[in-house]
């Protein structure tokens, strides 16, 4: 009835550890001042615990509520109603509850919030490391619940953690069954995860220096697996992202992408979902591949030209870019097929020609324009002109570097005739400029080039330093053709990869973790890195990516034709098997206790004998009650019966540690008494 509602002190320590553990991953994302408040609350709680501070007063609590309301309003105004503001609010409410909790009931509120915050962590990252961390959190929270329910007199923390681990391990089989079999439901209502996390990867603007910035990052951009091992050559791996066709003298942009707020809607971005098949000629068989893209906070995805989405979830734009409906805020897996021999827009519309040949009127760069016109007049065709420009890059002293000199006002002129050092964006930009200067339609394409092959799971890894910019030039009768001026300057960049091309550049991958180690190219470390990434990749493919569609395929494999009844039966069947297995390991059934000689004698000899004379021991009748009844009905038996009963109780219910020898002598005594009793009968 009145179970102590106070919080045991050891339990409080457990709770505090769980709180710190679940808030820690959040603190990377929420504003710093919220983390500081959270830390303050934990410290306050510790001070309450040690008796140095008191619980918050009523006034204080009202103040805290008002403060939280104010914070939530300002958060919504600043970063919008989204995951981040919700996460910060959750953390605030959570730590305030922490200082206020007094009773076990309050602790369970905190524990429930711990689980919900763990779930919030999964919204941000579902990597192997994040999963292992949350698993550790769950064990600690379980430990908190256990220590909350143990006696205050027992301080056995190692026992608590052991039990918590045991419980979690026992819970695992059932969890796996539910995970695999429990029908996944499509979202009940659309919740876009709008996160103010900074965008990563190539952006929809390209100014000099933008892509070389990515060259400093060793972060993963995406992983690709080709079906049937049909991997193209390294030099063919142009992961097309966006097409930039608007140039203002400094920066290349997508046309009509002035309002970045429209990125929420893919249809708006992709202009219109036109019947694009009419504008392409394809040849040969497509290659099929799967891409797992890391979150970019941008709406576009990457693929080999000319890519078609197999699931019809993505929108094709008029420049054959692919857009997701909403930002990519989580790791996303998609299947594409690409026709590598293709022709697009063999007939170019006037509007398209205007767009891809226009240059700003007042951008200067007179020297470049003159150079272009001279060069064009010296060759016969557009294609020859392209080769002449590439040859110029190859033959003049151009340098491929991540740290080029700064450019003056006439950027193109300065680069082409003065500094002559730059990263791919400099080459792509000036190449397109030289094309447009003589009226050849051209545009800049940004994306990634190259990949690292992981032999352990047979897939490729594309890093941020693979970011690249190249060009597409429209040629009469051929449509848009890809040219890469960087390859003219640094052929090894395209053939061997950026690692080889920039191996001596100190800026390469300088921001990456272990970059020094990776540049050192130590074999076993490299192997380990690839192995770890392979684990991560498999985890993504098999666990993180396990959605309705994959589940349906699994059901089809198991059940053949999938019906609701079959799914239900499979769920119930597997769940009960798992439950039965776990149940039998958890619940310890004692074997029927072996009959002690004393017990055997009492029940099988004495009671049997007495039954013969009509004195049967009633079920549940204690030995004393039975003895009393026997003595009452057959007073002549009272003496030995009382003696036997006394010995029996003493041996059977008394101290368990009585020595075997004593038991034997006592039993002998009982037997001789029984002989007396028998003669009386």
């Amino acid at each position: 009835m009145d179970i102590s509602y106070q919080i045991p002190r050891t339990a409080l320590v457990w709770i505090l550890i769980s709180v710190v553990m679940v808030v820690l991953p959040q603190s990377l994302r929420i504003p710093a001042w919220i983390s500081i408040i959270a830390l303050g609350c934990v410290i306050w709680r510790v001070l309450i615990f040690t008796g140095k501070l008191n619980y918050p007063s009523r006034l204080m609590r009202v103040g805290v509520v008002l403060f939280t309301v104010a914070v939530s309003i300002s958060q919504m105004r600043n970063i919008g109603v989204g995951l981040d503001s919700a996460a910060s609010l959750l953390v605030l409410g959570f730590v305030f509850k922490l200082i206020e909790m007094r009773q076990k009931r309050d602790i369970y509120v905190v524990i429930a919030l711990c689980f919900i915050l763990s779930m919030v962590s999964f919204l941000y990252s579902q990597s192997v490391v994040a999963t292992l961390y949350i698993a550790a959190c769950v064990v600690v929270i379980t430990g908190a619940m256990i220590s909350l329910n143990r006696s205050v007199l027992i301080s056995d923390n190692s026992g608590t953690i052991r039990l918590a681990m045991k419980l979690s391990m026992q819970a695992l089989p059932l969890t796996i069954v539910l995970f695999v079999v429990f029908p996944r439901i499509a979202p009940l209502w659309a919740v876009p995860i709008s996160s103010n996390g900074s965008t990563t990867g190539v952006s929809d603007e390209m100014a000099p220096g933008d892509i070389s910035q990515l060259g400093r990052s060793g972060e993963l951009a995406f992983r690709v697996q080709f079906e049937n091992g049909a991997q193209p050559f390294h030099s063919e791996l142009y992961w097309r992202g966006l097409v930039l066709d608007d140039f203002d003298g400094v920066t290349w942009r997508r046309t009509n992408s002035s309002s970045s707020s429209s990125y929420g809607r893919a249809a708006a971005l992709s202009d219109f979902n036109f019947n694009w098949q009419d504008r392409v000629n394809t040849d040969g068989n497509p290659i099929y591949y799967n891409v797992i893209l890391e979150p970019t906070q941008q709406p576009w995805i990457f693929g080999l030209h000319l890519a078609e989405d197999q699931s019809n979830k993505y929108f094709q734009s008029r420049n054959f870019e692919l857009f997701n409906n909403g930002l990519i805020t989580q790791r996303t897996s998609y299947d594409l097929r690409s026709w590598r021999s293709n022709q697009t827009d063999v007939t170019l519309l006037d509007s398209g020609r205007r767009r891809t040949t226009s240059l700003p009127d007042d951008d200067g760069n007179e020297q470049s324009r003159r150079f272009a016109q001279q060069l064009r007049s010296s060759v016969n065709s557009d294609r020859d002109y392209v080769y002449a420009v590439l040859a110029n890059f190859q033959q003049s002293e151009f340098y491929y570097t991540l740290n080029p000199s700064l450019l003056g006002d006439n950027r193109i002129d300065d680069f082409l005739f003065n500094t002559r050092e730059g990263f791919c964006e400099h080459y792509a930009s000036s190449f397109a400029y030289l094309m447009r200067a003589v009226g050849i339609p051209s545009r800049v394409v940004v994306g990634y080039q190259g990949a690292e092959y992981n032999p352990y799971e047979d897939y490729m890894m594309v890093y941020q330093y693979n970011a690249h910019a190249w060009n597409e030039v429209w040629l009469e009768g051929e449509g848009w053709v890809r040219f890469d001026p960087t390859s003219a300057v640094s052929p090894e960049r395209i053939e061997l990869g950026v690692e080889a091309a920039l191996a001596d550049d100190p800026a390469f991958m300088e921001d990456g973790l272990f970059s020094a180690v990776r540049r050192g190219n130590i074999d076993w470390i490299n192997a380990m890195r690839l192995r770890l990434d392979a684990i991560e990749y498999e985890w993504n493919r098999r666990v993180v990516n396990y959605n309705e569609d994959v589940q349906f395929e699994v059901f089809e494999q198991i059940l053949g034709e999938v019906t609701e009844e079959k799914i239900l039966m499979l769920l119930i069947g597997l769940a009960s098997v798992a439950l039965a297995v776990v149940g039998f390991t958890v619940i310890r059934f004692d074997p029927p206790s072996p009959q002690t000689p004393v017990n055997k004698f009492y029940k099988q000899v004495l009671c049997k004998e007495l039954r013969k004379i009509g004195l049967e021991r009633a079920p549940g009748e204690g030995p004393q009650a039975f003895c009393a009844r026997v003595s009452r009905e057959r007073p002549e038996l009272a003496g030995p019966m009382a003696e036997i009963t006394k010995l029996y109780i003493q041996l059977n219910y008394g101290e368990k540690t009585v020595e075997q020898e004593t038991i034997k002598t006592e039993l002998r005594k009982m037997k001789s008494l029984f002989q007396q009793l028998r003669t009386s009968v």
């Binding site: 009145d2 919900i116 999964f122 769950v138 419980l167 979690s168 993180v544 004692d590 549940g620 204690g622």
Partner: protein
Amino acid sequence: MALDLGARWDKKFQQWMASRIPPRESVTLDRKIIYIIPSSNGLMFVVAAGLVFIAAINYAVSLAFGLAFLMVSIFILAILHCFNNLNQLTFTGLASRAVFAGEQATFRVKITRSPTRKHEALHLNFPGENSSHADLFINDQVEVDVFAAASKRGYFKAPLLKTTTYYPLGLCRAWSVLDLNLRCLVYPKPIPFVMSQFNIGSGGTDDSAIIKEGSEDFYGLRDYVPGDSMRQVAWKNVARGQGMQVKQFVDYVDNKVWLDWDMFYGFNTEERLSRLCYCILKLSKQDKPFGMKIPGSEIPPDTGPEHKKKLLRTLALFGVE
């Protein structure tokens, strides 16, 4: 009205439970008599799992599904472990000490486990009473005192003993209700009574007088024992060469102290018993012999704790089958 109905239902339920549970001195808990329901904290936990699940659906986060399922599995395991914490425990009722009506009756229960198991955080209580706590963590058996208010004199049969546990996670409550045939003798509640109202007998030296060591009358001589007062040494006898002897003095006490039913004229039965009880306690402290006459029994004067117990027991069971 509702409360009344609730109380009536409760009583009915208790009766139904009592009819289901045969009284036995020693009971081993098993699945037939262990009940489990989720606690309110457990319901909150399930709601939290539901929230995680809904979030998993809406954000389409695979591992959040996993977390929701893990929470459900932990909940199910909590049920199994909670059951385990009671399963195969043996409860044995032990003899209990007599109390006065209005006091807390103390019932001693022995709990035994099999050596391979540990049981923790057991709470034992009678309906509506405070609970007692027990752990079988180190020892194989413990004895626990469980309390119940004894309101009426006579044999007090303990109500149904409830053993509850929330261990290990507090998400569900497992309990079992037992009748260990616990009984306790309840004496009448003592009510103060001015003793001088009745006759404690007159001083005198008649035959029935009993001798008690005192300081009034000279009684005789006995051999000196180290520690005797020097003032009581019969120095004259020492001078006569008869050795060290001590003068003994005694008080003469009348033993004819009788507590009589009729002394409490004007009170009803229970009031008389209560006052008799008070007088017994009072007189037994003075160490004077006294007897008691009540309808149906007459107990001759005597002293000592056994005598007191006998008297109180007679009072407790007066008119009780």
